[in-house]
């Protein structure tokens, strides 16, 4: 179906992996360098969006089905709120990360922020891809071949 844009397709295939890797770096290195869940989520979503733009929405939806996107949006929020609930069950205030390592609060803080940021990252990825699907999913006014 896609016989044109050869260079774009090859470059995209090479880049998608690197973009995802960079997203993970921004996600998990966010507590030592600039970054965090929001930025990482957007970068991760960019990998899927770029793939969708170059190879078509159908291909992107095969890789990352819309139902999964919706679940991930909810999962991230659940993870974030769940961290708070767990800290509450451990007898600390909501989202008080000290709960995860009472003898070593700074470790607890580290774990807490890592999990919460992971939640943010998952939800932001989901939301960005969902927005892209919603916009791209509308029928195109003109077919590719008609140009």
């Amino acid at each position: 179906m896609h016989h044109h844009h050869l260079i774009l397709r090859v470059v995209t295939k090479m880049l998608v992996g690197a973009i995802m890797l960079f997203a993970f770096y921004v996600q998990f290195h966010g507590d030592f360098s600039p970054g965090g869940g929001f930025q990482a989520g957007v970068i991760m979503a960019v990998a899927f969006i770029l793939y969708g733009i170059v190879f078509g929405l159908d291909k992107a939806e095969q890789v990352f089905p819309p139902w999964l996107v919706h679940k991930l949006v909810a999962l991230g929020v659940l993870l974030y709120a769940g961290v708070g609930v767990v800290s509450m069950l451990l007898g600390y205030n909501y989202l008080d990360y000290d709960a995860f390592s009472p003898h070593h609060p700074s470790h607890g803080q580290h774990w807490g922020i890592l999990l919460v940021e992971l939640g943010v990252g998952i939800t932001v990825t989901g939301v960005m891809v969902a927005i892209y699907y919603a916009f791209a999913g509308r029928p195109p006014p003109m077919k590719d071949e008609d140009w």
């Binding site: 919706h70 990360y97 000290d98």
Partner: protein
């Protein structure tokens, strides 16, 4: 890094109430989506809102003595960390919001089935929970920026909920869009105001803000911030000239959403306005008094008369009720402008009473919409006779809307008139009574349409299902109950009003 042992006393369930109030519905929304089963969406939503209602009652009982509860999210002490602060005023509004949410959901079960396409049901209840979370959060939090975050959570989900009416009438989409634009302008003004406050004081905790404004005195930045916040929140409250979004949003939203919004959304916004006017800026703030007299009194009088007058001439009952809401907001603002304890208690008690009354009326309309095919008066001809229980509930709450003695509406108007007398404002007291006469006209039109006209011959209307009748009659019964037993409503409103007029309770240490 040396391991240091810190003494920690485990927190119990009761300590967590202020945050659980918000977290339970917040948790329910993603769970509904994650499970993704249509049959489970409603039970989860109902369980979460019922839990929230129980929590708000527990909170209200704890703060009725005039104290407050402070909760430090994340264990970070304010003003650095986010504080949730519950006092009588916030507990009263929390109880109203969560109570209405719990009563609306059983009603919504049938109504949503009839009005919203099946594939959207799961997301509808998730959105409803988010809106509920946002409204509760706005009230529970003691952090000014947190208010903005929750305001946006509730607003964004409200736009989606209003747009769900599109299945029935495509104009719901433009109504939701109008609301989106106006609501966003309001939120923008609000955040600009917050930014100015932050610039002037360097803090976002409300109690800390109040302390610093009191210490450093006022300057132009703080006064501008006040103006931005009042206008921004004014848009969400639908203060008379800023009310443009409200009639369409209430008219075209699905019935269950109209019920919920009419009873809670503007009320939460009024609470935030009160919180900023009285707790952040103190009641003696010179600029504020000036604003109250010059701005609030004329606009609230205008709302009471103009909006009621417009309501009289409507042909769509939902739109009529929406204009009536704008008029009732006028009474609440008038109570604030009195700047005495009686006036403020009138505002707070009217906030609750009108919420209950309007919810009952919108529920009646929602039940009739199951059979009538439209909310225009000529769709509803004679339905009161075909649906006697629904019709009677509407008339009972209609009487409360007018303020007939023996109903909740009478109590709030009576207190408002008393407040006017306290200030020696005879003319305003007379205006309150005159504008109630306009309410008589539009409530009479409901009666006329429901009982004094012949039913459409091909109408298939029968009594509303029991899941709708029970919530409707709980609310209609409450309209009458609170007209006699004012201990709970007026009592807590008075405690809350005194708390607000005393200014900020200061930082909790």
């Amino acid at each position: 890094m040396a391991a240091e042992e810190t003494h920690h006393v485990a927190k119990t369930f009761m300590d967590h109430l202020p945050v659980l109030q918000v977290v339970i519905p917040l948790f329910a929304a993603p769970i509904i989506i994650f499970i993704g089963k249509r049959s489970l969406a409603w039970p989860i939503a109902f369980a979460a809102s019922a839990a929230a209602f129980v929590i708000s009652c527990l909170l209200l009982m704890q703060v009725l003595d005039g104290g407050f509860i402070s909760y430090h999210v994340g264990g970070w002490a304010p003003p650095l960390g986010i504080e949730y602060r519950i006092d009588a005023a916030s507990a009263l509004v929390l109880a109203l919001i969560s109570g209405i949410g719990t009563i609306v959901l059983p009603f919504a079960y049938e109504s949503v089935k009839a009005e919203i396409p099946k594939k959207n049901h799961t997301l509808f209840y998730a959105c409803f929970m988010l809106c509920f979370t946002g409204l509760l959060g706005m009230v529970a939090t003691g952090d000014a920026f947190n208010v903005f975050v929750f305001l946006e959570i509730s607003s964004l989900s409200t736009y989606v909920l209003v747009a769900q009416g599109a299945e029935h009438n495509k104009r719901a989409l433009t109504a939701a869009y109008d609301y989106l634009i106006m609501g966003t302008i309001g939120a923008t003004f609000f955040i600009i105001g917050l930014a100015m406050l932050y610039m002037a004081t360097g803090t976002l905790n409300m109690a800390d803000l109040a302390d610093r404004i009191a210490e450093e005195g006022t300057n132009r930045t703080i006064r501008a911030a006040f103006a931005f916040i009042v206008v921004g929140m004014g848009l969400k409250v639908a203060i008379y000239p800023l009310h443009h979004w409200l009639p369409n949003a209430y008219t075209f939203a699905p019935s269950a959403v109209s019920v919920f919004l009419a009873a809670t959304a503007t009320k939460a916004a009024i609470y935030v306005l009160l919180r900023f006017m009285f707790s952040v800026f103190n009641p003696g703030f010179v600029f504020e008094e000036w604003t109250l007299y010059i701005v609030f009194i004329p606009f609230s009088l205008l709302a009471m008369f103009a909006a009621s007058f417009v309501a009289v001439f409507q042909t769509n009952i939902k739109r009529m009720l929406a204009y009536s809401s704008i008029a009732q907001i006028g009474y609440m603002l008038l109570g604030i402008a009195m700047l005495n304890a009686t006036g403020l208690s009138a505002t707070l008690v009217h906030l609750v009473n009108h919420g209950i009354t309007k919810a009952a009326l919108f529920m009646g309309v929602g039940a009739m919409l199951l059979y009538s095919g439209g909310a225009f008066y000529n769709n509803l001809n004679g339905l009161g006779r075909k649906m006697p229980l629904t019709g009677a509930a509407m008339i009972a709450s209609g009487l409360s809307l007018i303020g007939v003695p023996g109903t909740a509406g009478f109590i709030s108007k009576w207190v408002l008139v008393q407040a006017a007398f306290e200030n020696g404002w005879w003319i305003i007291a007379i205006a309150i009574m005159l504008s109630s006469l306009l309410a008589v006209i539009y409530v009479w039109r409901i009666f006329e349409v429901l009982y004094l006209t012949e039913p459409n011959p091909d109408s298939t209307a029968k009594e509303a299902p029991i899941t709708m009748l029970i919530p409707m009659w709980i609310l209609a019964g409450a309209c009458i109950w609170f007209g006699f037993d004012t201990e709970l409503t007026l009592g807590s409103a008075q405690v809350a009003a005194e708390g607000l007029l005393a200014g900020s309770a200061g930082m909790a240490h």
